[in-house]
């Protein structure tokens, strides 16, 4: 019935005459421990990690009567999110009981599909600094802007820039004779009324137009009146000016996706790692224990006294393990320590660029995934 399992049991006494009928029955509806390990843990051996992939086929264990299909209610019961750390810029949280594909989807969406505002067009009126126009524009583009992208619309090719899709900044920095200075991002001044630069008129008599056509000032909108739009960091170096150099420009920020250009990515980076699990396969005592503690740079192990002057190593802080694999390096160590990763426990870190708080970014990402799913469903039906 279950050929594979017997082979597993066979290993202990290969030479003895052996009948498969002598073996105890494998409990139905439950995976044997080593398969359970394979399914739920990545084992990080000294040379390479094994069992890294996710077994998602519903019938993978059908032969031993284990159903591997996804159950929504089960997922609902088991799924957990624990926020470990939450600051203005970054957030670390545990996401437990989820498939790596889904966790990865969140990561991917965070990096490339959560829209933000970023400077896309720079109108340079005057630039005598050493920084070339394109380079300056590129640098400006990468400055994260503290502006809620949800309040703006995309600017498509034949739209006119208006207060709903464009944020205008002005930068006017000059340096006195004989001095030097640095231009920081704080000098980018928000122009809520839109562009101030006059377009070169096509006809002489027509009314002078600017590069945007705002119908109203952006700062009357309640969202912006108390929290004016600005770069999220003040001290980003934009350029350096020498004696009598000057920069005068206008920067137009629009909504976009990180897919198009990394400047629209709301996160510095977003990633996850699987929860480390460090297992002592045998009792590690005395000198060996001390050696183990000494080896670990992340202080994963502790020593406990077990009486009679004997000491034993314990795994105290497995979460701190950064997988330097020092504890499994060298002869004999792989038999003592096993490094594992829990496959459905993700320690997720989101580092926001300051555009939105990280938790908002994550919920945005979830929403986008939802939308995508809905789109798939509606396409299918």
């Amino acid at each position: 019935m279950n050929e594979k399992e017997n082979k597993g049991g066979n290993n202990d006494e290969p030479n003895k005459k052996f009948s498969i009928w002598d073996l105890p029955d494998v409990p139905m509806g439950q995976l044997p421990p080593h398969l359970q390990l394979q399914k739920t843990r990545v084992v990080c051996k000294a040379d390479a990690p094994i069992h890294t992939d996710n077994i998602s086929y519903s019938g993978a264990y059908a032969s031993i009567g284990v159903d591997n299909s996804v159950h929504l209610d089960l997922f609902r019961d088991n799924f957990k999110v624990n926020v470990i750390r939450l600051t203005k810029e970054d957030m670390e949280f545990d996401m437990i009981g989820i498939d790596p594909a889904l966790a990865n989807a969140f990561r991917r969406i965070l990096i490339s599909e959560v829209p933000t505002m970023a400077i896309e067009k720079v109108l340079i009126a005057y630039n005598t600094s050493v920084v070339q126009d394109e380079v300056l524009a590129h640098r400006l583009g990468l400055v994260p802007l503290k502006a809620d992208p949800r309040l703006f619309e995309y600017l498509s090719a034949n739209d006119t820039p208006n207060e709903k899709n464009t944020i205008v900044f002005k930068l006017h920095a000059s340096c006195k004779r004989g001095e030097r200075r640095t231009v920081y991002s704080e000098e980018l001044k928000w122009l809520p009324k839109g562009s101030e630069l006059i377009k070169e008129a096509g006809q002489a008599d027509s009314k002078p137009t600017t590069y945007t056509s705002f119908t109203c000032s952006q700062d009357v909108l309640p969202e912006f009146s108390e929290d004016p739009i600005s770069p999220s960091e003040d001290k980003i170096i934009l350029a350096k000016l020498g004696s009598k150099q000057e920069i005068e420009l206008e920067a137009h920020a629009v909504k976009g996706l990180g897919k198009t250009h990394a400047k629209w990515s709301p996160v510095a980076t977003a990633w996850y790692r699987m929860l480390p699990e460090v297992v002592l396969l045998e009792d590690v005592e005395d000198e060996v224990a001390e050696e183990l503690v000494r080896r670990c740079p992340d202080k994963v192990f502790d020593i406990e006294d077990i009486g009679h002057g004997k000491k034993r190593a314990t795994v105290a802080r497995p979460r701190d393990c950064r997988l330097c694999r020092e504890c499994v390096r060298g002869e004999g160590w792989e038999e003592r320590v096993e490094l594992r990763r829990v496959k459905d426990h993700f320690i997720f870190t989101v580092e926001s660029t300051g555009v939105l708080p990280p938790e908002v970014l994550f919920t945005e990402a979830v929403k986008i995934l939802e939308e995508k799913c809905e789109r798939v469903i509606s396409e299918l039906s």
Binding site: P100, R108, S112, Q132, T269, R273, C324
Partner: protein, 1137 residues
């Protein structure tokens, strides 16, 4: 700071380095002598040999030349003369409208001038005519202008500090050592030459043994060869048409007795036996006396035999009072060496041995040129004075000094420098390509030009000997840096600590030798010459005499040198095998400093180094106190040099300063080169010169024709000592990219790399290409009219978009193809002179300059510069800038000869990421490693990774592990572990696509990557319809002319083999040059179609009856007609198809 004051105007980079060293000086048991390297580089090395050589010329060489030819006397009236009392080079100036102005080199670069200084002479001359003569003196008369080497003593940059250099628009890191000629920077490459005045035993093409001497004195240059043919010795000299038996020559020089010749050779009977055939031949010619011998020779050369023997034969041996005995002895020594070589093959000289080579530097080359031009000028002036005297000008006071003002010297020097042709008839010298344009592709590339050594042979020679790595190159010439391909192994580069000597006064040295017990040649009989336990003493190829205690003598000489009583570059070499002590003080020898050891104990002690660090001691103090000395390649043979202090034995005489100095500047950039397979280092040396980065601090003020700059260049995380010494850390050419070594996407085969799109978005590999566009406004045509620039008149609004009101493009404007950037107009009539009225209503035709570039590339006008050229024409230069981000196919390379193109660009979310969220910038395929064996690259990765995690720049200097100039892998691994990385640099990586961990740990970390100048944008090319060549009507060739892509013979063969005949037909004719012809079926010649009569006509048959129309390639029609023009009649025979 003593060091600073002593350093004077040297770039302060070295000083900064010292301070940094001071803080982090490791304490070691062996004395760390590294600090000597920066100290050495302050005074010598790198490009200083160029400067030294030029300074030598300016201070001594030019004076010698002028002193040797200081009198111009009239042949008509010898009492009228000009005498040069002194000569010197003034400060660089430019003369504008009669006013001379100080000139800075950067001004010259920008306005296409030559950076020159006047050659000033003080003269004394006789003025007046027959009855009244006055002796007059004049000071500071300019006889021409000398191009000035940058940073040499007469350059305005000499001794300037960083701020002063900046004020002059100069980069403080720029090494100087080149010239600015007509606005372009020119380097006189170091020329490799076989040494002059030395006996070289070799075999000729036929396998005959030869002893040759290239004699070179101020007066003559000649080549004397003694050949051994069929056991007999002959002299072969260009002046004699046939070979002359050597015994005849000996007899002609007064050694009539064979006995004496044998004695001169030495007692050994084997020598006499070998000489016997030659003696017999001489006897068979019936020549026994000098008289007869001379007669015999006179027959060969119409009666000038004696003068040839005196002046040309072995010209380097001076002849006093027609005493040819020294020459006889010289010949005897040559013969003896030949016989030694016959008896023992090892005694042959190796032409490729570096000790037999001399490097000719810019000073020497300029000096040759100057001497020639100066002598030419003197003869010209002489003629003019004579002419002035014979003309009997009544205007009594003819001033001969006025004739000195002429351009021939200035022009001659400038022409030679700008063309690179050294065509000096006087010295029978005709060399091409002596100068090269100093390409400012990268900082390190331009440094490379200054250490490059040009070979003596043409590159086409298929010989392996000169190309092979010579053991004697050790420490002198870089073993890595040589080009690939035809010049491989011939073009070499100097190592970091090499110094090339300049000539030294030999008179005092010779008398010193005699004082130290050298027995004068004059006083020795032939017999005594080679007595056992005595060594000959040769000084610069001249036999001085012999010495009975050679070791003692050499020791004494060396002691004097170490005490600085004689020049530090004099080499004393005892050749035990040849039983000769060689003393050399000539210029062009390569030498390097070494620490002296007594019985294996280094003379440089800890406290010396401490004093050096404290700045109370300089490199010269080390020399003066005899702690360090320079050894040239020959003297190295007498030394036992140990690599490290710990490895000495009692026999050790010298200790290396730092082993990494055996590499040159460019190879010095490679981290851990000693872990790489050697050709990889060579490849990197070639590629490092193509890497984009910073050129110089003044890069944005320069007007180069083509400039590649990196937008965000970085300093390598893994540096070497050389990098810091030359300033590469300040003018880097690359970026530290986080590299994951794994396969990804399949677009990474054949060394292609996969790049992260977000990294590119954020500025990785972004570069700026600046191109120059220039235009000269002709100020004055013959007609009196001149070019003009007009304000845009709105005729072509679109193309005039970027013009300012002054008719020139405005800086900062985006320029597209076909945009006008200079709205220039030229007068319609330029020929004959016109009156003022005619000029007023002169018609002008537009001759505007428009931008030519690929469609869709948006460039920006960076700068517009106006200047005047030599003829006072206005010259407008524009720099057009294009910023590029890396794209598919752009070439990148690490510092280990591992080049690769960008294979694909992938979104960041698809990229793998590590447990710490690190996402690589690029992915490199691991297959690049096994066959290339660039272990250095792996160590670089580890070192950089440790460097970023602990915040300290790691070092990877060549052979640096024992001395602490390279971090050891063990230490690096420890650092990695301390920061939570695996000791082997491999990280657990999650796939960005599936989200699961990868089934292997991935080797990941930062590696310094260079972007090379080869970019797809400059190379990609395709076309459909396009321009054709006038003559053949076939599509043009080449990308520059938007040419077609040729179906060549091989492609054609493929198509034939495949049988796609219609495709061939289409490609070769229809798409190329189809042409309709009328062929007369009767005569088979081409006819024509008369459009008026609407009929075809054969002009040979005079009718249109049998005309057929057919298609044929135009080139074929052309061929037929060309053949006809040569009186060949090709007739076509047509058949119905």
């Amino acid at each position: 700071m003593g060091a600073e004051s002593l350093a004077g105007g040297e770039p302060s980079t070295v000083e900064q380095l010292i301070d940094r060293q001071k803080l982090a000086a490791p304490i070691k048991t062996a004395v760390d002598k590294f600090q000597l390297v920066p100290e050495f580089l302050k005074v010598r090395g790198l490009v200083k040999q160029h400067l030294d050589s030029f300074n030598y010329f300016v201070n001594i060489g030019i004076k010698k030349i002028v002193r040797a030819n200081d009198r111009i006397a009239s042949t008509v009236d010898p009492s009228i003369y000009i005498r040069f009392k002194d000569v010197r080079i003034g400060t660089p100036t430019v003369v504008v409208d009669g006013v001379s102005d100080k000139l800075a080199p950067h001004t010259c670069r920008l306005s296409d001038m030559t950076y020159t200084a006047p050659i000033l002479v003080d003269i004394e001359y006789i003025q007046g005519s027959n009855d009244q003569k006055y002796r007059r003196e004049k000071r500071d008369i300019s006889i021409g202008r000398m191009p000035v080497m940058l940073r040499s003593q007469c350059c305005v940059l000499y001794g300037k500090d960083e701020a002063e250099l900046a004020k002059l628009g100069e980069c403080p890191l720029d090494p100087g050592g080149y010239f600015v000629v007509k606005g372009t920077e020119k380097v006189i490459l170091i020329q490799e030459q076989l040494s002059k005045n030395r006996i070289i035993i070799d075999t000729d093409k036929k396998g005959n043994l030869t002893a040759s001497v290239m004699s070179s004195t101020e007066a003559t240059k000649s080549k004397t060869v003694i050949v051994m043919e069929k056991g007999k010795m002959y002299l072969s000299l260009n002046q004699f048409t046939t070979k002359i038996p050597i015994m005849v020559v000996m007899k002609a020089m007064g050694i009539e007795s064979d006995q004496e010749v044998v004695q001169m050779l030495g007692r050994d009977p084997r020598y006499s036996a070998l000489l016997l055939p030659s003696l017999e031949e001489c006897a068979s010619l019936d020549i026994f006396t000098q008289e007869k011998a001379l007669k015999y020779l006179d027959n060969k050369k119409d009666g000038r035999a004696l003068s040839i023997l005196r002046d040309i034969f072995l010209a380097n041996v001076p002849v006093h009072n027609n005493n040819l005995r020294p020459k006889c002895i010289y010949v005897a020594v040559m013969l003896r060496r030949m016989m030694e070589a016959i008896l023992n093959k090892d005694a042959m000289d190796d032409k490729d041995y570096v000790g037999n080579k001399r490097l000719e530097l810019s000073g020497q080359l300029i000096s040759l040129l100057f001497e020639d031009l100066f002598k030419t000028m003197i003869t010209e002036v002489e003629r003019q004075i004579d002419y002035g005297l014979t003309k009997k000008v009544r205007s009594s006071q003819s001033d001969p000094s006025q004739y000195l003002l002429r351009d021939s010297i200035s022009n001659g020097l400038e022409r030679a420098l700008s063309t690179g042709n050294w065509d000096v008839k006087r010295f029978r010298m005709n060399r091409k390509g002596v100068t090269q344009v100093l390409a400012r592709l990268s900082f390190i590339g331009s440094l490379g030009y200054l250490t490059k050594i040009m070979p003596q042979f043409e590159k086409s020679r298929k010989v392996s000997g000169p190309r092979a790595l010579q053991p004697s190159q050790w420490g002198m010439l870089c073993p890595c840096d040589t080009p690939e391909g035809e010049a491989c192994g011939l073009v070499k580069n100097l190592a970091l600590m090499t110094h090339v000597t300049t000539d030294e006064e030999d008179g005092p040295l010779i008398s010193l030798c005699y004082c130290l017990g050298v027995e004068d040649l004059e006083l020795l009989s032939g017999e005594e010459l080679h007595t056992p336990n005595s060594f000959l003493v040769m000084f610069n190829g001249l036999i001085l005499g012999k010495h009975r205690r050679p070791q003692h003598f050499a020791h004494a000489m060396r002691k004097l040198r170490r005490a600085c009583k004689i020049g530090e570059f004099v080499s004393i070499f005892v050749n035990e095998k040849q039983r000769v002590v060689y003393i050399a003080s000539d210029g062009g020898r390569v030498c390097r400093p070494l620490v002296i050891a007594d019985k294996g104990i280094s003379r440089v002690k800890e406290h010396h180094m401490k004093e050096l660090l404290d700045g109370v001691r300089t490199f010269d103090d080390f020399l003066r106190e005899g702690l360090i000395e320079y050894l040239d390649v020959n003297e190295e043979n007498n030394a036992l040099i140990s690599l490290y202090e710990g490895e000495t034995t009692p026999e050790t005489t010298h200790i290396e300063i730092e082993p990494f100095t055996i590499l040159g500047v460019i190879a010095g950039l490679i981290p851990y080169p000693h872990h790489n397979q050697s050709p990889r280092n060579t490849y990197q040396c070639a590629m490092g010169k193509q890497a984009m980065g910073n050129i110089a601090y003044n890069q944005l003020c320069r007007m180069d024709t083509l400039l590649y700059l990196l937008v965000y260049p970085q300093r390598p995380l893994l540096t070497t000592r050389t990098i810091e010494l030359v300033g590469y850390d300040k003018l880097g050419a690359g970026q530290n990219a986080t590299v994951a070594v794994m396969s990804y996407s399949g677009y990474d085969i054949e060394d292609a790399i996969v790049m992260n799109k977000s990294s590119l978005d954020r500025g990785f590999g972004r570069c700026i290409v600046m191109k120059k566009a220039s235009c000269i406004m002709n100020r004055r045509y013959d007609s009196g009219a001149s070019d003009r620039i007009v304000r845009p008149r709105g005729l072509d609004k679109d193309r005039e978009r970027i013009l300012d009101v002054d008719g020139l493009a405005a800086p900062g404007q985006i320029i597209r193809p076909n945009d006008i950037y200079i709205n220039k107009e030229s007068p319609t009539e330029t020929r004959d002179h016109k009156s003022a009225e005619a000029l007023a209503d002169m018609k002008y035709r537009p001759s505007m300059q428009s931008h030519k570039g690929p469609e869709g590339e948006s460039c920006v006008v960076d700068r517009v510069a106006l200047s005047t050229d030599k003829n006072n024409n206005m010259c407008i230069k524009l720099i057009i800038r294009h910023t590029r981000r890396p794209e598919l196919g752009d070439k990148f390379s690490s510092r280990h000869g591992q080049k690769g193109v960008c294979g694909t660009i992938i979104q960041q979310e698809d990229f793998p990421f590590s447990e710490r969220g690190i996402c690589p910038d690029l992915i490199m395929n691991p297959h690049g490693f096994p066959s290339r064996m660039t272990v250095g690259k792996m160590i670089e990765l580890l070192g950089s990774k440790a460097g970023v995690s602990c915040g300290r720049f790691h070092y990877g200097s060549a052979f640096g592990e024992p001395s602490g100039h390279a971090d050891k892998v063990d230490a690096i691994s420890e650092t990695l572990v301390r920061h939570g990385f695996s000791y082997n640099g491999k990280d657990m990586i999650y796939s960005g696509i599936t989200g699961c961990p990868l089934q292997a740990y991935i080797f990941m970390g930062p590696i310094y990557y260079q972007k090379l100048k080869h970019m797809v944008l400059d190379k990609m090319h395709a076309r459909g319809m396009g321009p054709r060549v006038m003559l053949t009507r076939q599509p043009t060739e080449g990308r520059a002319r938007n040419g077609g892509l040729r179906v060549g013979e091989m492609e054609r063969d493929c198509l034939i083999a495949y049988g796609a005949s219609m495709l061939i037909f289409e490609r070769l004719m229809l798409s190329s040059d189809p042409f309709e012809v009328q062929v007369c079926e009767a005569c088979g010649l081409l006819g024509y179609y008369n459009h008026k009569l609407r009929s075809a006509f054969c002009s040979t048959c005079k009718n249109g009856d049998n005309i057929a129309t057919m298609k044929l390639p135009y080139a074929c029609k052309l061929l037929i007609q060309e053949l006809q023009s040569m009186n060949i009649v090709p007739r076509l025979k047509l058949q119905e198809a």
